[in-house]
Amino acid sequence: MQRREFLNLGTLLAGGALLTSRVAFARTDERRARLVLIIMRGALDGLAAVPPYGDRDYAALRGEFALRAPGEAGGALPLDGFFGLHPSLGFLQECYAARELTVLHALASPYRERSHFDGQDVLENGSPRAHALTTGWLNRALAQAPGQAQREAGVALGQNVPLVMRGPAEVTSWSASKLGALDEDTLARITDLYAGDPLLSVRFADALAADAIASADRAGSLAAMAPDTAPRAMSAAGTLQPARPAQANGARYAQVVRAAAGFLRQEAGPRVAVFDTTGWDTHANEGAAAGQLAGRLSALDSGLATLRQELGPVWSDTVVLLVTEFGRTAAINGTRGTDHGTATVALLVGGAVAGGRVIADWPGLSARALYQGRDLAPTLDLRSVLKGVLQEHLLVPPRELERTVFPDSRTARPLTGLVRT
């Protein structure tokens, strides 16, 4: 018997010896809210993704790499008359027009140094300090959200679970398999073999549960990821590899968003999905309307379009949150790129977003306005945005947001009204 069939059997017998209580599929909450978190590792250049072409200092800082105003050749896509979208983000502009995209600009996490790896740690652990916690804010939020008991609350698309999703709440990871499935007898024996191992017994049960959910996806996009044709969508940490030609990137994004949608559109599935993207660390030859960053943004944009299509009606219950660890220098460096900076953008897109807005307390780009004379200055705390979304979308109690999800974050008041309620 094939593994997936075996797991279907396991689903039917939920509560049986193998899967026990870890996979009880009844939805207990009335809300159907879904959340997709996309981490853009490497520090996205917010001034290129959402250029402030209306700022009087912008063109001089970016020189020949400044994106022009909408309407000009290679110009930005219009948003609000001051900010534009990078010309590669056509789908996102449609979303903006449909009031399903909110851009948050001049935003930063509490991290103020310039290490990717500490920056990502702060972005994910939810405290003001790197390595202060070994669990992530999204997992802690899930543990406090109503209706999460007794099931896989979240799924990481990739082999492993990123820090943001680690913690007390039951989560799993899933990636398409390239190898053959195991037979029922071997799976049962491995379950026995792991009985005395607290870590492996849990991980193995989580893997079986994720496969059970995947195989129950009657719409078939997960099952359709035939082992041998699945391209290498993810590396170890579940990161996409967009450093290759744009077409290949597009295929990989399509893979991972199909998988995310396959989980999220199921009644019994997890309602939060997370995955990584990489390739945003544009130190050299970043390009402008065309070039390196343009290709990556374009692949991401079409990945998001695929996500909307694959989610179908669930799109209207979905918030997709795109975040990065920090921004990049306001000026172009000596190698036609940008070095590590401070403030950047975050994007909220989806049918559940109260969109069509750019939210920014714009600090300006004059020499005096720049943070440490080089970076876009932060005027909005990322945690304010996250708190608002978690509170109004996943119904995480405000008290828990302050206490367990984002410790030491009193200065970051929740930004409400981001989600349609």
Partner: protein, 474 residues
Amino acid sequence: MRESFSAIAANRFGLGARPGELAAIAADGRDWLKAQLRAGPPVLSDPQLRSSQETLAQAQKLRQEIRAQRKSAEGATAPGKAGADVAAAAAQALPQFLRPIYLSEVTARLRAAVATERPLIERLTQFWSNHFAVSVDKQLLGGLAGSFEREAIRPHVLGTFGDLLLAVETHPAMLLYLDNHLSVGPHSQAALRLERRAQPRRLGINENLAREILELHTLGVGGGYTQADVTAFAEVITGWSIGGEGGGPFAGGEPGKFLFRPELHEPGAKRVLGTAYADGGYGQGVAVLRDLAGHPSTARFIALKLARHFIADDPPPQAVGRLARAFTGSGGDLPTVYRALIDSREAWVQPLAKYKTPSDYIISGFRGLTLPVEAGQPALTPFGVLGQRVWEPGSPAGWPDRSADWDGASALMKRIEWADALGQRLGNRRDAAALAPQLLGANLGAATRSAVAHAASAAQAVTLLLAAPEFMRR
């Protein structure tokens, strides 16, 4: 206790026991490990493998040809489909050149790891290669990551940290990976000349390599440097470049070889970490690197990473302190540090403290089952499937080294599926019940012994042995 010493020596410090290895280690794993430090550097010589210089020079030539082809295709009277074909062929030419180089390097590295009788040294090579990580997802690095390891890492694994550091930071692969070959001092001769032109072109520094040397290679992120240190250090190493790398100010020099370009170097004295460095061209950067190698923060950072790799995810501070003192006391003599590590009691008390990375898991599987390494794509495939493609960490931080980074549910299932595929392939050609004590020694628990003994088939027994909790860890 002695038996557990040999299992730890072979599986924690080594790359996983081969059949017979535990018996050979015999009385004291520490002697077995220290003996490995006494022979020469772990060179990997294979006439099939090319030098970085050779690969880079050919890649540069290929790029020029591609440019020429594109130009002539654009110039043709009826470009149409033929022009598009030329462009498509040109786009493929470089990957087609680099891919076989990458695969032969992957093959050679895996063969060395599987066959070696000095597995500690091979593990240390991989450790340093990951500490000074380059990633093949950046163009050209696919053809350079392997030769970088052979040329910059291997000769110095049993030398001093200072020599290792200098070899790494002057290697073309690292200069390319972190963009330093094109970094130009804003007041250098080349920059001033270009600004005076009718159509001025602005050249300047790129701080990527300088930052990652401080953050990832030497002091560590809390090691006491500021943004001003990063910028000053980036200026110090302007001009550290590669011969024949481009046009204009980057032309000239022996193609593919490290080249200091004085005309790109930012002139003047600079202050890094409170120390003033007089301008001495190339020597200025060498002096900063030498001071960084001897900095107490570097000693602590390297000690922590080694202790995390060989003792536990969160190693005891007293062990880290001991390694840092060995580092500083010996002037960064790496074998002295390794000996302090081998003599650390903390490394020997918890037999399965570390969860294997996918790479550890695959290599120990090959060693334990004495599998032959097929050349080319088959040597790479398991690393891709299990989620740790060789030399592709995707960032200069290298692969992470804690359990939580590798113990995902889906990742576990991939290992089991691979173990199952091996079992199916081997059938009854391996006797897992006989192998279990030879591979796991004193770590072999009753549950695994029984599961392997009572397996339904020889194939399933192999699967269960490799899936066992004791085999997932080291």
